[in-house]
Amino acid sequence: MIALEAHNLTVRYNKQPVLWNVDFSIPAGSLAGIIGPNGSGKTTLLKAAMGILGSDSGYVRFFGKELDAVREKVSYVPQRQSVDWDFPASVMDVVLMGRYRAGKLLGRLSKTDREIAAEALEQVGLYPLRKQHISELSGGQQQRTFIARSLAQQADIFLMDEPFAGIDAASEESIISLLQSLRSSGKTVILVHHDLHTAIEFFDHVVLLNTRLVAAGPKTETLSVENLNATYGGQLTVLNKIAELVRKQEYPLREKNTKD
C-alpha cells in the first residue's frame, strides 16, 4: 500500500517556485528520508503535503485519499526553530496539543487524552520533566517534546521536518530508536533530513530532492553516485533562471488552475 503519493506537485515559496513537478510515492511501513541540500524544497514539500502552503499544481494523497479525509491518521512535526520556546507553556501542555482535534472545536480534553499524552512523554523519556516550562529544555529535549506531541496524535504516518537538527547525540540516538520502533509497529515515518552521512544507514526508502525530484525509491536502488551528484551538485542553472523570472515578474505557473 502507498502511504504518501505526491503527484506532479509544483509549489512556490515567497513567490519563487521551489518545487517543480515532483512525483513520487512512499510505501506504507517504511522509514523514508527526504534528502537534499539547503534550499532544495524539502520543508516546502512537507508544508504543501500538510496543506500549510498552497500548491500551483498537483496534489498529495495519503493512503490514496485527500488529506481532509485522513487527517487524524497524519501527524506533522514542524521544525523545532519554527516556534517561540519562550511561550508560557509546560512540556505537558505542548504534548496535550497533540490531542486536539479540529472536529471537536469546543471539546475539552478527557482523562484518556491526558493518559495518552503521559504515555507519549514516557516513550521519549521526558515524563519526569512534564511540569517544566518549555524554555528550560535543551534543544534535544525540545525536539523530543515535539515528537511526543506527534506520538500523542496516534497517527499512522508521521512527517517530521529536520528532527535531528542541532540536537545532542543522546537525544539523536533515542529519537532514532523510537522511529525504528514506530516502523516495526507498522507506521510510516517520513523525515526531512539534510545529512547524507547518517541517512545511508538509517532509512530504507529515500527521496532525493533538489528543487526537482532527482530520484525516489528503495535506498539500495536510489543512492547511486550519479544521483547523489545530481542532488548535491548544485541546482539546475536554467531551472533556476526560470524560477527567478517567475518570482520577479510574478508569472503564473499554470495557464489555468488545474489539479493535474
Binding site: 496543506g51 497524519v74 514542524p78 516556534v83 517561540d84 508560557p88 507553556a89 496539543m97 482535534r101 469546543l106
Partner: protein, 425 residues
C-alpha cells in the same frame, strides 16, 4: 462618590480588562506594534462617523472606529503579503497614513462650525468623565464577547498562538481563528477611543501582558494576571485623573500601568532585575568562599601542615583583605573552617571535603579541556578557575565517566577523591 463617577470607574475597568485579556495573545504573537497602528487608525473612522451623523453618541463613533481599525489591520496584512516591504514597514505606513488622515479630518471638523464639534479633540488623549451609563453597557457587551471567546476557544487559541503550522496541520480553521483574534483586538482597542484616546490605547494591549509574563510561565495565569494589572491601572488612573481635575484619563492610566510594569521588571521572581542581580551577587560570594577553601587545601598539599595564617593565604592568592575577612567569617559560621589562637586557620572535616570537591572539579575541567578540546596545559587554568564554581554534581559525574576515572590532571597533580570512587565500584 456620585453615581456618574461610579460609571466612569466601571467603564475604565472594563476597557482595561478586555484589552489586557485579548492583548495577551497579541503580545505572544509578537503583534503589539500592529495594535499601536490599529489604535492610531481609529481616528479617521471616529471623525468621519461624526461628520456623517453629526452626533457624538459613543456607539455611532465606535462603529466608525471599528471599521477604520479593521481596515488598517487588513491593510497591514495586505501590504506585507503583496509587496516586498517587511511587516514593520507595513505597520509604520498604515499608522502614519491613517493617523494623518484622522488629524486632517479632525481639523476640518473643528473648523466646520458644526454645533457640537467641541470636545472632538478628546479622542486623541481620552476623557473618561464624558462616560455615560449606556457607554458602560457597550463595554460590558464587548467584554462579554472577548471573555466568552477566550474561554470557549482557549485550547485552540493557545495552540494557534504557539504553533500556527501545527494548528493548520491538524485541520484547525486557522484563517477563522486569526480573524477572530484580530476582530477581538480591534474591538478592544476601539473601546478605548473615549476614555483613553487613540494615541495611547495601544499601551492597554501590550503593557499588562508584558508585565504579567514576568510572573508566570502558564498561559492561563498570565492572562488572569494581565487582566488584574489592566483593571488596577484603569481604576487607579481614572481615580487620579478625576481628583486632579482637568487631567486626561488615558495618560494617567498608562502611567499606572507602566509603574506596575517597572515594578515587575525590577522585582519579578527569576526574571526580574533584582533577582538576577541577587543571583549574581550570591554566586560571586560563593566563588570567593570556595577560593578560600581551595587555597587552604593547596597550602596543605604543598606544605604538609594544617594551620595557616592570613598572610600565607594572601601570599598564595591575591585576596582583597576585606573580602577575605568576610569570606572567612562566613565559612566559620558554616563550620567549614576553624580558627585557633592567634588567627591560625584550618579546614574542618566538612571543609576539607568541600575543598577537595572544588579542587577535583578544577582539575577535572583542566583535564577535560586538555584532552577533549586539545588545549595546551598552560591555557586551561584560567578557564577552570571560573568553571569549577558552576559544575553541578550531574555534570561532575558525567565528566568523571567521560574521562574514565582519571587520577591526575594535566599538571600531574592528584585529582582528589577519584581513587576512592574507583574502589567503590
Amino acid at each position: 462618590m456620585s453615581t456618574s463617577l461610579l460609571w466612569v470607574f466601571a467603564g475604565c475597568a472594563l476597557i482595561g480588562m478586555g484589552s489586557a485579556a485579548v492583548g495577551s495573545f497579541a503580545f505572544l504573537r509578537k503583534r503589539s506594534l500592529v495594535g499601536d497602528a490599529v489604535a492610531h487608525s481609529l481616528l479617521p473612522g471616529v471623525v468621519l462617523a461624526f461628520l456623517l451623523f453629526q452626533q457624538k453618541e459613543l456607539w455611532i463613533l465606535f462603529v466608525g472606529a471599528l471599521l477604520s481599525g479593521a481596515l488598517s489591520m487588513w491593510s497591514i496584512e495586505f501590504i506585507s503579503k503583496n509587496s516586498k516591504l517587511s511587516s514593520d514597514a507595513a505597520i509604520a505606513i498604515s499608522l502614519s497614513i491613517f493617523f494623518s488622515l484622522g488629524i486632517v479630518l479632525l481639523t476640518y471638523a473643528q473648523q466646520s462650525g458644526l454645533p457640537n464639534q467641541s470636545g472632538l479633540q478628546h479622542f486623541l488623549f481620552g476623557k473618561a468623565a464624558a462616560m455615560l451609563p449606556e457607554d458602560v453597557f457597550l463595554f460590558a457587551g464587548i467584554n462579554a464577547l472577548i471573555f466568552g471567546c477566550i474561554i470557549l476557544l482557549y485550547p485552540q487559541l493557545k495552540l494557534f498562538t504557539f504553533d500556527p503550522a501545527f494548528a493548520k496541520s491538524i485541520g484547525l480553521p486557522s484563517r477563522w481563528i486569526n480573524f477572530c483574534l484580530s476582530f477581538l483586538t480591534v474591538l478592544a482597542i476601539a473601546s478605548g477611543i473615549q476614555a483613553v484616546g487613540v494615541v495611547l490605547m495601544a499601551a492597554f494591549i501590550f503593557t499588562p501582558p508584558a508585565a504579567a509574563r514576568f510572573w508566570t510561565s502558564r498561559l492561563s495565569h498570565m492572562i488572569v494576571l494581565s487582566v488584574v494589572i489592566g483593571l488596577l491601572s484603569a481604576v487607579g488612573g481614572a481615580g487620579i485623573s478625576y481628583s486632579a481635575s482637568g487631567m486626561p484619563t488615558g495618560p494617567w492610566i498608562i502611567i499606572c500601568m507602566s509603574l506596575l510594569a517597572f515594578f515587575t521588571f525590577a522585582f519579578a521572581p527569576k526574571r526580574g532585575f533584582y533577582s538576577r542581580w541577587r543571583r549574581g551577587w550570591r554566586h560571586s560570594r560563593k566563588m570567593k568562599e570556595e577560593n578560600v577553601l581551595k587555597t587552604l587545601y593547596h597550602l596543605r598539599e604543598r606544605e604538609g601542615r594544617e594551620e595557616f595564617g592570613h598572610s600565607s593565604l594572601m601570599a598564595l592568592r591575591g585576596f582583597d583583605a576585606r573580602e577575605l575577612e568576610q569570606s572567612i567569617d562566613s565559612l566559620m559560621r558554616k563550620g567549614l573552617i576553624g580558627k585557633k589562637g592567634s588567627a591560625k586557620l584550618h579546614l574542618s572535616a566538612q571543609g576539607l571535603e568541600e575543598a577537595r570537591r572544588i579542587v577535583r572539579l578544577h582539575r577535572l575541567w583542566e583535564l577535560y579541556l586538555n584532552t577533549r578540546l586539545s588545549l595546551p596545559q598552560d591555557h586551561v587554568h584560567a578557564d577552570a578557575e571560573a568553571i569549577e564554581h558552576i559544575i553541578t554534581p550531574e555534570v561532575e559525574a558525567a565528566l568523571i565517566r567521560d574521562l574514565n576515572y582519571p587520577l591526575s590532571d594535566p599538571h600531574a597533580s592528584e585529582i582528589p577523591g577519584i581513587a576512592d570512587m574507583k574502589k567503590d565500584e
